[in-house]
């Protein structure tokens, strides 16, 4: 895995929740975990992230938005465009300003569109893919639509 943010490959400061971990700091938890451990997560005062599937309506986890520092939207297959609308909705409707990350089946050729609907970090399969994704972010110097407002 390689993470692209601000047009660079960076070391990921986040990790996904595992069974053996003791601190919840910088952990990305599942929606189930959030729902079952809301109070603990909020009281811990540690930054945490939430992983959601691209097909989820934003309403189903909107109460978490003011607590989380990162939303990771998972693409089951690259051709499933629901995650794009979800990110756009989080930015425009919910004014979510923290990190939105694309995870799952994310292809370098999608980097440009993903960044424009509000994703600011992309998890790619390899360093090679990540390098290509950075190149692809510069495919267009112009476009017609306005970008998401909260980026």
């Amino acid at each position: 895995m390689a993470l692209v943010k601000n047009k660079q490959i960076i070391q990921d400061s986040w990790h996904h929740l595992t069974a053996e971990q003791t601190s919840l700091a910088n952990t990305i938890v599942s929606l189930d975990y959030w729902q079952q451990n809301k109070q603990a997560l909020i009281l811990s005062k540690q930054p945490f992230g939430l992983k959601v599937s691209g097909d989820l309506p934003a309403e189903s986890f909107s109460e978490a938005l003011k607590h989380v520092s990162l939303i990771a939207i998972e693409f089951p297959v690259f051709s499933d465009g629901r995650g794009y609308s979800l990110a756009k909705t989080l930015r425009d409707k919910y004014r979510f300003t923290k990190e939105i990350r694309a995870i799952g089946d994310v292809l370098p050729d999608q980097a440009f569109y993903l960044s424009r609907v509000g994703f600011d970090s992309l998890e790619l399969k390899s360093d090679l893919s990540a390098k290509l994704a950075i190149e692809k972010l510069a495919d267009f110097s112009v476009y017609y639509q306005k970008d998401s407002v909260s980026q």
């Binding site: 690259f78 465009g81 629901r82 756009k88 569109y113 495919d139 267009f140 112009v142 476009y143």
Partner: protein, 547 residues
């Protein structure tokens, strides 16, 4: 017509380079076929039976003579000296080499053309009335709005991985000449009681395996709000459209399964947040685009020359009656260039013809031509005094077949000859029909025959007055006929005639249908009227009674 500014040109140029890189990586093996597929499709490139097929957008059917010459040149340099016009006003090359497509796109970009989103699960070419701006019954010229929506939908970051393709058509007249009712979204321009411009919005129409007529989702959306309203529909569709089965993924299925009222409520909930926001069109933005579509300075003239020309030649009279239409300006006519001559498949145009059309467009039609959804071309601003000379030249090049609106002016998909989806051939059936009816087409009257080689319905068979659908039965080609469909403002799906017909019997069956109509029609009654009056039974009796 609209002319690119620096932004438009840069965007298209950068798209060419993007696609060049994608093609290179695919050929190097860095992209799998599965990964390359949506990328090439979003550039209009299909893999067909014999070769790739490249579909080029003609935005709402408008072409300049320069663009026509470029299409001709590409057909010569990269293809087999002909092109094919489609039912969505686009044009297709049937024999390009995959590795040469980036060069073709670069040539197209040099004349402000592209293939962006001419295929794939995204918003396709915006289509419209080929008579926009020149017909007498127009409420408002739809072309500026087509262009605004074209720009908004081009390389749309959010709506490029939709559940399925998405087609939008706009009509500015009560007479719908853009088959808006069988589009994912159909827009009908209208004015409210205060004269404000807006749109009636239809949603969920479509042909294919499950043909559906679009339903009105909003009676009036003001022009300022049209993009935010479209955005709300698209987002609702992108979120909730089915992705588990590609045959159930079009918005028509979502609307049907959700119910129109519930779907409308979802759209309204989405729109509530975005209405009045960044997508709102201000008057200046609309005016800026409208400036490209101002009517030319028509000269004041009468039909004196025309009237004397009409005296001279019966063949010219016949062509004039059949292939030209009223123009809002006295002294002008709209001319259809029939691409349905007996000499080639419906919608095909050769290199020589394209060159000629470009020259004639310069000479007689302000340097422009238009493509129509029924796979013909049109010159929309011809002085009546020029008609005779135009006709003579068109006639010499097999572009003046006097058959517009008749049975030989049929819509037809490429079928089994080219398409890897097809179950049956359509071009040879079309040839048979043309041979059989060429001499009697005019006398038979207005009769729309539409034919598809498979149930995907590219040939619009479901809305043909006579519809022919190719089906595969245990490896044999059979044809399912429907009657009484309509592609007008009162769009209707045809009724099934009965069991499928063997290939060898299709032409004689069409003959039986035409003869039954002729036998029952009162005076010059149209097929649709006769069919409504007598129903399908007499046709069934004639066709199946003898078999």
């Amino acid at each position: 017509m609209y002319l690119y500014n620096e932004l438009d040109q840069t965007l298209v140029n950068e798209r060419v380079e993007q696609y060049r890189d994608q093609t290179k990586r695919f050929l190097n093996g860095e992209l799998t076929e599965e990964q390359f597929r949506p990328l090439r499709l979003m550039n209009g490139l299909y893999i067909q039976t014999h070769a790739p097929m490249l579909r080029i957008n003609i935005p709402y059917g408008l072409l300049s003579s320069k663009q026509l010459r470029m299409l001709a040149q590409i057909s010569r340099q990269y293809d087999k000296d002909y092109v094919h016009f489609t039912t969505r006003q686009n044009v297709q090359f049937n024999w390009p080499a995959l590795e040469q497509v980036p060069d073709i796109l670069a040539d197209l970009a040099s004349v402000q053309m592209h293939s962006i989103q001419s295929s794939g699960n995204c918003i396709r070419n915006i289509t419209s009335d080929p008579l926009a701006g020149v017909c007498a019954d127009e409420i408002e010229d739809p072309r500026p709005y087509c262009e605004i929506i074209r720009q908004w939908s081009t390389l749309h970051p959010e709506f490029s991985y939709l559940p399925r393709k998405f087609k939008i058509a706009i009509s500015g007249s009560p007479q719908d000449r853009a088959v808006t009712q069988v589009h994912d979204i159909g827009l009908h321009m209208k004015k409210d009681t205060d004269g404000n411009i807006g749109f009636e919005v239809l949603v969920g129409g479509g042909l294919g395996r499950t043909p559906v007529i679009g339903q009105t989702i909003a009676d009036f959306i003001a022009e300022a709000d049209i993009l935010s309203y479209l955005d709300a529909i698209l987002r609702t569709y992108n979120r909730y459209g089915r992705r588990d089965n590609k045959y159930k993924a079009r918005i028509k299925i979502l609307v049907r399964e959700t119910g129109l009222e519930a779907f409308k409520a979802q759209v309204d909930a989405e729109w509530k947040d975005s209405k009045g926001g960044e997508l709102t069109l201000d008057a200046a933005a609309i005016e800026r685009v409208k400036a490209f579509f101002i009517a030319p300075n028509y000269s004041v003239s009468d039909d004196k020359q025309l009237n004397s020309d009409l005296e001279k030649s019966g063949a010219f009279r016949q062509w004039f009656k059949q292939n030209t239409r009223e123009h809002k300006q006295t002294g002008y006519r709209v001319v259809s260039l029939s691409l349905k001559s007996p000499h080639r498949p419906p919608g095909d145009v050769t290199f020589d013809q394209l060159q000629l059309i470009a020259n004639l467009a310069d000479q007689y039609n302000l340097g422009q031509a238009r493509s129509t959804h029924d796979q013909n071309l049109a010159f929309t601003d011809v002085k009546t005094e020029d008609l005779f000379s135009l006709w003579q030249q068109l006639n010499e090049h097999q572009l003046a077949t006097a058959n517009i609106g008749t049975i030989t002016d049929m819509i037809c998909c490429p079928g089994l000859d080219f398409c890897s989806l097809a179950n049956a051939s359509s071009i040879d059936i079309a040839q048979g029909i043309t041979e059989t009816f060429t001499d009697s087409a005019i006398e038979t009257g207005s009769l729309k025959l539409k034919m598809s080689g498979c149930m995907n319905g590219c040939g619009h068979h479901s809305i043909g007055e006579i519809g022919i659908l190719g089906v595969d039965k245990k490896g044999e080609q059979w044809y399912q006929l429907t009657l009484g469909g309509s592609d007008t403002h009162e769009t209707k799906l045809g009724e099934r005639l009965g069991r499928a017909i063997a290939k060898d019997d299709v032409i004689s069956t069409v003959k039986d249908i035409v003869n039954t109509y002729k036998q029952h029609r009162n005076d010059d009654e149209k097929f649709a009227t006769t069919f409504k009056r007598i129903g399908i039974q007499p046709f069934k009796d004639k066709v199946y009674g003898t078999r």
